[in-house]
Amino acid sequence: MSTPIKAFIPDPPSPPPAAAIGVVHWLRENLFSNWFNSLLTIASLLLLAKAVPPLVSWALVNAVLTGGPELCDGTSGACWSFIGAKARVMLIGTYPAELEWRPLAAGVLFAGVVAATVSGRCKKRVLTAAWPLLFVAALWLIGGGAGLEPVDQSMWGGLMLSLGLAAVGILLSVPFGILLALGRQSKMTGISSLCVGFIELIRGVPLITILFMASVMMPLFLPINLQINNLLRVQVGIILFSSAYIAEVVRGGLQAIPRGQIDAAKALGLSSWMVTLFVVLPQALRHVLPSLIGRCIALFKDTSLVIIVGLLDFLGMAKAASQDQVWLGHEVEGYVFCAVVYWVICFGMSRYGRSLEKRGPKHNN
């Protein structure tokens, strides 16, 4: 005789208490967990309630989107038609209208190379060739010569100029910065003290003084009959400034390479040049790639200072446009537009830097 085995069937679990799930729980946990947090939440909500509606009504509800300057008179909202009317000047400066396609083509090329770099699908070798080629092509398209009608540099301006100054500045200051960092690490006292002196001097003074130096002092240094235009001088100043900072970034990477690797490479019979070129530098640069991108962001933001030595970059053009007699009194709109563009570019770069960091030093080819 056997009693049938009773299978144990558990009751289904009872649902969590209502206070522990759903919106109410989330609110209680994240916004009203104690009296102090509740106070903070209410204060923040009050602040938002005070700030957001006027902002929305200024930027959207009461805003003037199209039409001439006369439509903007007397409105309490933003005058976005000002941006529409001045977009050309802010983007490419006073570049001749009939040749507009040239900066546009350069911009498309630039965007293409940036996209190829960011996607991470292209081979390193292709990219290394693409960037310098891009600069030659962009310079030819914008500046003219060799079959294209030349356009004087006084007509270059706007966002085009900002991007150009920053990109050329980074591209040329990286090799300089690497040289300076290697020089600083060198055991030769003469060279290392020269490099330390240069780096610390540049890092100790504001960019404005360097720009003044490039713009006002450099003509005095050059031979009397040699004239270099202001744009080139400012670009040289930016490169000098940026290379000192990049040198410090690269030095951080150099110091992160364990001493044993250098000893091992030497034991294999590599000369000290080869050790530096094939063992130390590639690893060091990979290490500091995220910080280098941080420097790119900083440099792009810093190019806005060229307005002080009389070049009209993106911000400079926005400021100049707001002084137009016809469109008087719309600086704030111009600055908001500038801020949005700068923000998108810089935030994009910082996101890219962070993704490289996450991918880890091994995989960012």
């Binding site: 916004l31 967990s33 923040s44 001097l201 003084t209 005095l220 002080i308 911000l315 810089c346």
Partner: protein, 396 residues
């Protein structure tokens, strides 16, 4: 059998090999240094020729020449009849003043932002993140222009000034405040303040020693606060209130008298503080996140209150992590104060630029700028390094 090791080999002549080893390096250095010296010499000759051709004087003689520069914001009495050198000094003081004030305010705001970013309150953390991401990714110069235009556009004219309280007037010409004027007996109040400071210093030390010995100190913080406020206040009334106020008054289209903070100064201050606070906030956040969560749990288990945990457990360790990065942000702030030139606040660069415009002596003025900035940053870094050494854990 042949010996395995030849002990009697001739020693290698050490000197010769060392020389041979060092020769390339020596040669390279000589070449580089020599090349740079040569270029520098060429630049020097070029400069001399250029200065002569353009009829520009050289040397620092211009510093004692009467400048005729009008300067609006001055900390010391100044008139256009004063020399270039004195005008430059006024600019330097303005640079120092705006930098020092910005550092203090940016630190306060930065700590608030950093703490808000790690807050358990979702809304506050989000607001902090939005603040940091917006301010960090927009050029400082743009923030400055923006602050300046917004100030000018939205503040009322002097006739319709905002009056928050008393004799303070806010309008688009600036913030006008009464200026205290001290009479002779004010010295007593100053002495009382000094005495209170000394007394509270001694009190703090005494309290610390008592706590080390008995485990229980004095309420030194409250006592010193009482001393620092009470003693000067008592002296002030005993000496017969030796202070009057020069109040600003509306004459025609503008105010006269009193103290004024002009919109240029306010915009520069606001821009520098807002921008730098975003960076300091990030330092503070990474500092707080670097504190092990177990420590906070342990402190809670010991029964410490949240405020005490913040003050005694989290903040001291946060400081250690974020001081080096914050030192960098402070020096950047000092350098960034040179952007004053773009909105017309008379700092050192702005006044120096005017001097260059008048007498073309760019080399001297730029040299002076660099010297002053290098000095300020050196002093600042030395101070911060000293502070850093003080808050580090002393390990045996």
């Amino acid at each position: 059998m042949r010996p395995f090791i030849h002990l009697k080999t001739k020693p290698v002549p050490l000197k010769a090999s060392k020389l041979r080893e060092q020769l390339p390096a020596l040669l390279a250095q000589t070449l580089v240094v020599g090349g740079i010296l040569y270029v520098a010499l060429q630049l020097f000759y070029n400069t001399q020729a250029n200065l002569e051709a353009r009829n520009i004087a050289s040397g620092f003689g211009f510093l004692s020449v009467e400048g005729g520069l009008p300067i609006n914001d001055t900390l010391l009495p100044y008139s256009p009849a004063d020399s270039y050198g004195y005008a430059f000094l006024i600019g330097t003081l303005n640079t120092l003043f705006v930098s020092a004030l910005s550092i203090v305010l940016a630190t306060i705001l930065g700590v608030l932002v950093g703490v808000s970013r790690v807050s358990r309150n979702w809304l506050v953390a989000r607001l902090g993140a939005v603040y940091v991401e917006v301010l960090r990714n927009v050029p400082l110069l743009l923030t400055l222009f923006f602050c300046y235009s917004v100030l000018l556009a939205f503040l009322p004219s002097p006739r319709n000034s905002m009056v928050p309280f008393g004799d303070i007037f806010i309008n688009n010409r600036g913030i006008f405040m009464p200026r205290p004027e001290f009479l002779g007996a004010m010295g007593w109040v100053g002495s009382a303040l000094a005495a209170a400071a000394l007394a509270s210093f001694l009190l703090m030390r005494k309290s610390r020693r008592m706590r080390d010995v008995t485990g229980r100190g004095l309420p030194a913080g409250w006592l010193s606060l009482g001393l620092l406020v009470g003693l000067p206040l008592a002296a002030y009334y005993l000496a017969g209130r030796p202070m009057t106020f020069d109040t600003p008054e509306l004459h025609g289209f503008n105010f006269t008298g009193g103290m004024v903070l002009r919109p240029e100064f306010s915009a520069l201050l606001a821009g520098l503080v807002l921008y730098t606070a975003a960076f300091i906030g990030e330092n503070v956040r990474s500092g707080i996140e670097s504190v092990d969560k177990g420590q906070i749990d342990a402190a809670k288990a010991l029964g410490l209150k949240p405020g005490l945990i913040m003050r005694k457990i989290i903040l001291p360790q946060t400081l250690r992590v974020c001081i080096p990065a914050t030192t960098n942000d402070y020096t950047s702030l000092v350098k960034n104060s040179s952007l004053a030139v773009a909105i017309g606040y008379p700092d050192m660069v702005s006044i120096g630029g005017t001097i260059i415009g008048q007498n073309d002596q760019a080399i001297e003025v730029i040299g002076m700028w660099m010297a002053v900035y290098l000095t300020i940053n050196l002093v600042l870094s030395m101070g911060m390094n000293w502070f850093n050494a003080k808050v580090q854990v002393v390990e045996r």
